[in-house]
Each structure stands twice: as structure tokens, then as C-alpha cells.
Point group: D2
Chain length 327, copies 4
């Protein structure tokens, strides 16, 4: 059993806390969160409320899950690593590329393991896809088409602190594309619009985008994004090579079909990211337990965070200038 | 070009007439039908109206399509064969097993080719299935599950002359099962009910059935029938063997899907047998042209008709007695 | 937290023990099993080894999971119920109908809750299917077609104590059919063969069957069974009614497809029942926790066990006599 | 019966000739082609060989199918229209935008109907998709994702006269996108590479592309192209709007599936465009018959040709400059 603490008990924090509490290899000792009901939440995981300082000072704490608001991630990560504690940080490490780059000395070769949680990396279908591409099943990858459509847009008040579409949303696709592709992408082009919710546009953001990536050998990746599909999580990947295509499809809620005069209707896709990525989140926590027990190195850390944020920044610049941008 | 005649221009006859007229190897010279508008129908195929006698007397006629009412088939077939003309007879040759057996001398080794049109035999999917089973793709066939559900029941006034569910409807499945299976089926058991339309029951027939066939080695076939699916033609076949399963599925009207919050809806299945089996009917006519030109022997003739009618009679006896019946 | 004990730690027992240990509402205090490594297995669930007598004498034990060999179920169930403990009994209660009927006084209206675990009842797809049929989505159910094919046969040495195909295997389908159908089935007919493994035949059993059920109104159910599909768990249900068809399909291991010149290949089905029914087994344990906390009555108990065993016995008699058998 | 002539009997010409010959409303009188076996080909359609001059001079010829080499289209179309004959011209009218624009006086409001055959416009699935989008089924269209992958690249010697990827291949997608979208596209961006066949690169062309289109309201279209899928024709369209998604999928060669331990394999996609678009080509000829009989105006003519060629030219410029290009 590895003794850990968690900072932050919001929506995403609740998911991680429950997974940690159910993981037989982890014991959640402390929960840090200012909300009034924190003690009750902590108790549900067999933990007690503490301050960040108490967590850092507790020599028995081996690891810390950081699920607080994004603007606190970098400071907390540094403090935890400095205290020698392994870190599970909800993505992103930071929304600001300059700040992230400035943290290079502490984070690039950290004193303790630093794991940044990108959910696609632990989604069983994405993992199977990555493994089969890497095993050469379709030959040398030529192109990728990624569809990443959310069921419904977030509340408009979330937009200003979100980092915008590319840093909040497409960043998952950037990380996924980099993971699947054999070589780094070197150039980005994007077009985007506000077609879904005018309040998103009023907040200075876009909600619908098509983005292209290109590597030095001319391999291409196309990313299709919308904040609102109208029919649930539509997150598919198609990988093309000389020996055919591999695709990862959407999860449906069950296998039922109703056959009627108007056609056969399948089960709906998932409407909620917690349900859609439940297996991924459980798997992320297993990975953290593996890291704590020395069985694994973090699959994603500082370098991956920098890489995908660079692509997001390049996409933002492409949107601003209307031109392709080299990374 | 082979000069042919057709007898009967009802619903099924119209299909065959159009296919014959469009077939570049066939020339329809005569149409026999008492209906007032027969001349117009004949003209649409480039033919003229004639009597049966004229057709039989026309030495230039190489073949005759018989699509008249079922009770006339046997007499007309015999007459045409006696006149040395190849016959394309819409199924069934006859509804009465005793009459059919009595025709054995003329029909078992006919003077001219006798082709009895069972549409499944020329359905592209059924043909592909048969070929792959025969090629040993799943090893030695063990069991068959046939689903054969029509969109909607026929008008109740059709029932009394139809021969009843087994001789009119399940007979297709009996013929299909015999074609796919390596050995003859030797025993039949069935249960059936009138669940769809009370008028069918009032006419002494059933509309819903489950029928089992067994061969001497214990191989099994299950047939699921209903006169009304409510969602179109549902005619699937699953063949099981030691190396897996082969299935032929339903045809959909197109490849479109609508993805909505309630699920993804495919195109409907076909509602009309002429559209559903359009490719099969064209292919039947090609087969007749092949027969006339000496390139093929009839794929289905007297022996197949007897075989499937024997199974239908056994099913009727099983329904009457409540017991399994040996063929 | 409800304090429970478990009797039996074989293959199925290991699944239940792990689910109980992970369930936050359950605390496994005792494990009863004579095997040498029982202490270690018990420890993995936070439990200690005990005898049946100790379990029965422990007033703090609220419930007992019975996962011992089938021939001990009835005795243990009676003892636990007599001691006032709620019971979770792995199916079947007993393989012998006479013994089961003789237990009617103690089991029909037990002193404590008696839950008999049929895994289909807690499979999410089967539950969704049952709920939608019951809600009238296809109108009054007319027929059911159940496909229930296992990946591979059990070892031949298991056959003699299994109860045979109908009592060991088809019994799941009998229970499922009864659950989905509006009225009781009153008659059974079956044909079966040994086509998969001659050793099964040598042990006096069959491995391939087609079974029909009929209710008093003529509604029909067809069950397709084989011990070996060759391609994993193939367990589908199709329910037909006047407003169309509802079907529950097979689970695939993931959503991946490989598109090649020879066609598109989906992920395989499951090869292992523990993986295939993982969600069902977790859900069964939740149900037991609900029962212990008074939130639920057992969904399946003595009456369901008698009902499905009666159908299995009728099927055995039908196989022996070659005739349909009234229940 | 409308008397027509055809110019050109190459691969595409053979398809049109056969469809015209089988169409009961058309009579092919003349075939113009210099190849030695032209007389035999003509005879198969009931036609005779003639010169262009003879065709133009034959007052009984109502329409002309132009299926000669692309560089002759414009001259022949003008000559036929000048002679008052309706024209069915295989796409494209011309590969050179300047030449096409220069022909505006004769072609924009021609003296006789001018129909330019884009096969997608008559593909049943594309037509159903267009009709359902236009009927508002998904609300106001927001984005389109078009996948258009051919089975295998053309021979390298075809490339130099092909017009290159955008004018030869993507032009189908440009036309399709314009047809489906509510407003004109005003800007194009593309990246492309030679990843499939170095000989294509040596001939100065590309074989793999991702292209974006944008309209004045910010609606987006993404087009995925490769000359070689490795698995047949992969030509799918997804249309997204506020009420969900409509998609047209790939045609499979049949409905068969083989279920094996490694997964279930469907039938292959089509490998040959003549088979893949057989229904579309027949439908094109019906449309020509409708035009000749005055029942229809050409669905695609000069304006559509200019529109899609403009997009192709813009894409070529985008490829050359690396910048987005306004149309």
C-alpha cells in the first residue's frame, strides 16, 4: 500500500479520488481542498483534510494527485517534486508555454516521478490502436484522421479560463497524434469558427475547428473538432498506411439495437466524459500505483506536455494569422 | 438471341418479363395472358399476345417462362417440355406432393431443360455463402440458423390458395437449407401459431413458426419464420462449423446513417420482394439464357422441388400431429 | 459495511471473493475452503479462514456467499438460512429437481433472503433488453431467438458432474427466456447431438442443441446452443413483436477495426466468461449488498431455480423420448 | 426512343455505351472512335461507326455522349451544341480554367442542353444524403468531412495528362462539397505529399492530400484523399449540424461476415470504379434520357464545372505557395 495525498476535489478530482480509494495498492491519507464539505468527501475515501504544508511535511506520503485548478498546477507540482513526492497531475501542467518552458530545470528531469494525465493515453482502444500501429500492422503510417467531437459545449463562463479550444480541447488530439505518429509534427494549419454557441464567440473563443499537422516527410494528420456533436462523444481515430487502415471507434452505451420500419437504431454514444473514459481513469490510477511501486516510469510527463502545448500555441498563431505555422 | 415466350403476366410475371426484355440474349416473342391489357404489356417487351397452343406450335420458340397461377404450372410445364421447349418455371412446380410425384416420369429426366426458379439460389449473398461453405471455410458444417421474416402478411384472401405457410413460404428455407447442407435432412419438427393476423388463422393457416431439421449425423437446422417483421425483409443465414461462423445478412436500402442523441439509425431494410431480390431475379434470367445457349444445366429442377415439398409436407404433418416426422 | 463470509474459493469463488473485497459496502470476514492455500486467498480479501460451523456461529455475519461445489449448495443454503443469514448462492441451487422440490418448505419462503446468482440477470445488455421489452417498445412479445454459444467446451472430466448440457448450460437460456417472456412456457422440444467433442458423447452428454419453448398462447422461443463456437462468446437475444425487433448483441474486446483488401475485421469476441461477464458479476455483488442493506429483495431465488430446472428436466426428457414434453 | 451518338469508346466510354444500349429509351446510332475494333464495339450496341462530321450532319441525332480524351471535350461539346444536339459530357469539360472561362459565351446558356457527368451526383447514397441535408434533417449544415480514397494509383504514365490530383481526383470532392453545402466556399487550403508511388512524384504530382474549404460564414469542409487505400474504394461523407450527423458510407461487395477467433471479417469494399459506381452510371444515362425527353434540365453543367475547377485551381495554388487561397 502506497500512502498518497490528493489536492483538489472538484469534478475531475472526485473521479481520481474514488479511483484511488478503490485501488487496493493505494491509501489516500490526505485531501487538500478549501470547500466546506471537504471533510465528508475525504472521509468517503478514508482520508482526512489537510493543508498543502501538512502533505509536504508528511514523510510517509509517497505521492500526490494534483487535481486543483489549472493555474495552481505548476506551483504545486514543483513543491511536491521538491519534497520528493511522486506526482500525478491532471492535464495540463500549465496553459502558458513560456511558464512551462521556464520550469524546465525542475521538471525535465525531476527528482521524483512526474506523471501528467492525458486520458487518451490510457483509453483501452487508443492503447490498442497505438500498439498495433507501432507493431507495423499497416506498414509505415502515412496519415491520421482524428475526429474529436464533444457532446455539448461547456458553460460559457468556463471559456475565459479554459485556455481556449486548442489548449483545452484539441490538446488531447495533439498529444494523441504525436503518440501515434513515427516522427514529430513540424507544421500546423487551422481554421476555426464559432458556429455552436455565440457566447463562446463573445468570450473570444471558437467552438468548431479543422486542423492539419505535417511532419518533415510529408505525413499528414487532420483533426476535426466541435464542442457540440449533438449525439454524444464522437472520438474516432483512423490511421492509414500502405497495408490498409486501422481505426478506433466510438463506445456505445450498450449493444442493443431496435429494428423498426425506419431503420435499425443502435444504442447512444456516451454523453458524459466520466462515463466515456471511466476505464481510462481507472487505468491512469493503476499507472500511478505502478510508478509508486517502481514498476513503471511515467508514460507522459514534462516533455509531452511541452510538445502538445507547442502545437496548441502554433494552432492559436495559425488562427490569428491565417497562415501555416512551423513548430 | 434466343426466342422465348412467357405465360402469365401477374406481379411475378411482370418482373420476369422485364428482365427477359432487358436481357440482350433473349427475345420475347409471345406473351400468353387472358387479361384485357395483355397486348400493351406484351408490347412493352417487344412481344405479341398469343395462345398456349400458338406458343407450343411455334418451332422457333426455344424456351418458355411459366409465371401463371400455381395450379396451372404442372400441366403447362409438361406441355412445354413435350414440345421440346426449355422451361423456366416460377416456383413451385406444384403444391401437392402426390401430383408432383406422379409427374416423375415426365419431369425427372425431361426431354428439354426444366429450371424451377427459387429466388434464394440466385441471390448474390446466398450464392457467396453457399460457395464459401462448400469450399470448407468453416470446416464441416454442423448447424444452420435461418431467419426468414417477411415485412407484412399477404392479403388474407391469398391464404386459401397459397398452400399454407410451409408450402408457400418456408419452402424457400427448406430449399436453401438443403442446398447449404452436406447431407439430406431426414426429420422435421415444427411449432407454429397465428400471432400476426387472425384472418390467417380463420383461413386455417399459421403466420409464425419455428422449425427444426435434422440429418442422419445429427446436424441441425433451425428456421425462424414470421409473415410480418414490422421492419422489412429480414432474411439472414448463419452457418456454424468447427472453424467459425459464416453469415449472410440483410440488405439495407442505402448506406446512410443518422447519428442522434438517441442512437445511430441505419437505412431501413427492403419492404418489397421485387426490390429485395432484384439482383436474384436478373440472375435467374441470365441462368435461363445460359441454359438456352447450352452453357449451363438448370441449377434447380424437379428433384429439388420434390425434396423441399417433402420437407414442407413433413412440417405440415408435424404441425398436425405435434410430433417429429421422418422424411 | 456488512460483514459476510464466503464458502468456496474455486474459479467462480475467486471472482465473487474479489468483487466482495472491492465492494465498499461489504467486509469479508471469513473464507471457508479446505485447500492448502486458503489462508493466502482469504488474506487477499482481508479475511481469515474458518469452518462452516464458525461462520454459522458468528452472530456478526449477516450474509454468506456460497460458491462451493454444486452438490453442497442445498445443504449449505439451508444451514445458512436457518442461522438467519442472507445467502448469495452461485447457480444452481441443485441439479436434482426432486431434491429441489423437497426443499420447498425451507426455501420457498426463507427466514432470510435467498439470492441465486444467474449471471444473465445482471448483464447490462440483458437488463436493458428486459426493461425495454417490459416497457412495451415492440408491443406484446411474440417470439424470442436466443443464441448461446460458448467459445470452447469444458474439459471432458467436468461433464459427468455438470448435470449435462441442459441443466448446466441451457439453464441460463431457460431462465433468460422466462424472464423476458410475459407468460410461462408450458412445453419444450429439443434435438441435440454430439458434434464437437466425442469425449462429451462418451460421457453421455451432448454439445450441440436446438430447443423450442412454447407458451399457452402460442408464443415461441428458439434456443441455439453449442459448447464450441470457435470465435468466443456468442450470446445474442432477439425479441420480436408487432412493432419490430429488439436485440442484444455480443460484446467485442474493443472497438478497433482493420480494413484490408480482404475486408474489415472487427475485434474478437470474449474468450473467457470471467471477462465476458465481469460487469454482471460486479453487479451481482452490488445486488447482494442491496439485499443486506434492505434496499432490495432478491431478484432470483427458489422459484426461479425451480422454474428453469423444470424446463431443463423437460428438455432432458424430450431428448430421451424424441417427443415434446409439457412442463 | 431517342437517337443518339457516342464519341469515344475507351474504358469510360465502354461503360456509357453499354448503359445507353441497355436503356430502353435510347438508341445508339453512331459510334465515333478511331480504334481498329470500333466497328465491333459499335455493333455490340446496335450502332455503326461514323465520323464526327457525319454525326453532326445527321439531323436525326438528338444527343451526343462525349467520352473521348479530355483534351477534345471542349471542342466537341461546342460543335455538338452548335449543331443543336444535347450533350452528355464525361467530366471534366476541360482541365484549363482559362479555356473553360473563355467558352462562357457558348456554354453558360447553351443552345441545347449540356450535361457534365460527375458520378457522385448520381450515386444513390450521395443523392439520399443531399436530399436529407437539404430537407433540414440535421439543421443548418456546419461542417463536412469527406473521405475519398481510391484503391490503387493509376499507372504513372497517366499522371502527366491527368491534370494532377486536384483537377483529376479531388475535383469530385469539390463538386460534392459544393452540392451539399448551403453557401459557396470562398477559401481553400491544402497540404499534399507523394507517399504512395515515387513515380507520381517524379511526374510532378502528389498522391496524398488533406484539403480544407471555408465559406463566408465560417462553415468548414475537410477532404481526405489518397490514390491508394490498400482496401478498395473508401468514399464516405459525414455532414454535421446542430441536430446530429448524417453519413454516407462505403459499399461492400456483399453482406457476408466470417466470425473467427481473430474477429469478424466483413466483405471487401469495391476495387474497381466501374463496379463501385455502376448504379451511378446507369442513373446518369437515365438522366440523359430524361433531358432528351424534356423531363429534366441537366443537374450539372457549365457553372458546376467552372465552380469545381476554380476550387481545384485554388488548391493547386495553395499547394504551390503554402498559403490559403481565396476563390
Amino acid at each position: 500500500m502506497h500512502r498518497i495525498a490528493q489536492i483538489g476535489a472538484g469534478r475531475m478530482g472526485a473521479v481520481h479520488l474514488a479511483n484511488a480509494a478503490h485501488n487496493p495498492r493505494l491509501e489516500v491519507a490526505w485531501l487538500v481542498d478549501p470547500r466546506p464539505d471537504a471533510a465528508g468527501i475525504a472521509a468517503s475515501a478514508g482520508a482526512q483534510v489537510a493543508s498543502v504544508e501538512q502533505v509536504l511535511a508528511d514523510a510517509g506520503v509517497e505521492g500526490v494527485i494534483i487535481a486543483s485548478s489549472t493555474d495552481t498546477h505548476l506551483t504545486l507540482v514543483k513543491a511536491c517534486l521538491a519534497a520528493g513526492k511522486a506526482v500525478f497531475c491532471e492535464k495540463p501542467l500549465d496553459l502558458d508555454l513560456a511558464s512551462l518552458l521556464a520550469a524546465e530545470p525542475e521538471l525535465a528531469h525531476p527528482k521524483a516521478p512526474l506523471y501528467v494525465a492525458f486520458n487518451r493515453r490510457f483509453d483501452p482502444d487508443c492503447r490498442a490502436l497505438q500498439a498495433r500501429i507501432a507493431a507495423g500492422e499497416i506498414g509505415d503510417l502515412e496519415t491520421l484522421n482524428i475526429t474529436s467531437h464533444d457532446p455539448a459545449p461547456p458553460p460559457a463562463h468556463f471559456i475565459p479560463t479554459s485556455g481556449g479550444l486548442y489548449r483545452d480541447f484539441t490538446i488531447h488530439d495533439f498529444d494523441l497524434a504525436c503518440w501515434l505518429a513515427p516522427d514529430p509534427f513540424v507544421e500546423v494549419f487551422t481554421w476555426a469558427s464559432c458556429l455552436v454557441d455565440p457566447a463562446i464567440g463573445a468570450a473570444g473563443d471558437v467552438d468548431t475547428a479543422r486542423t492539419l499537422l505535417r511532419d518533415a516527410k510529408g505525413r499528414l494528420c487532420s483533426i476535426s473538432n466541435t464542442r457540440r456533436s449533438g449525439y454524444g462523444f464522437d472520438q474516432r481515430v483512423e490511421a492509414f498506411g500502405p497495408r490498409g487502415m486501422l481505426r478506433a471507434g466510438d463506445l456505445l452505451q450498450d449493444t442493443l439495437q431496435a429494428w423498426r420500419e425506419t431503420g435499425a437504431t443502435s444504442a447512444p454514444r456516451y454523453m458524459d466524459f466520466i462515463a466515456r473514459y471511466a476505464a481510462a481513469y481507472r487505468s491512469e490510477m493503476e499507472h500511478f500505483a505502478d510508478i509508486l511501486s517502481g514498476q513503471a516510469q511515467p508514460e507522459t510527463g514534462y516533455a509531452d506536455s511541452v510538445r502538445s502545448l507547442r502545437l496548441a500555441e502554433a494552432a492559436r498563431q495559425s488562427l490569428r494569422t491565417g497562415l501555416p505555422v512551423r513548430v
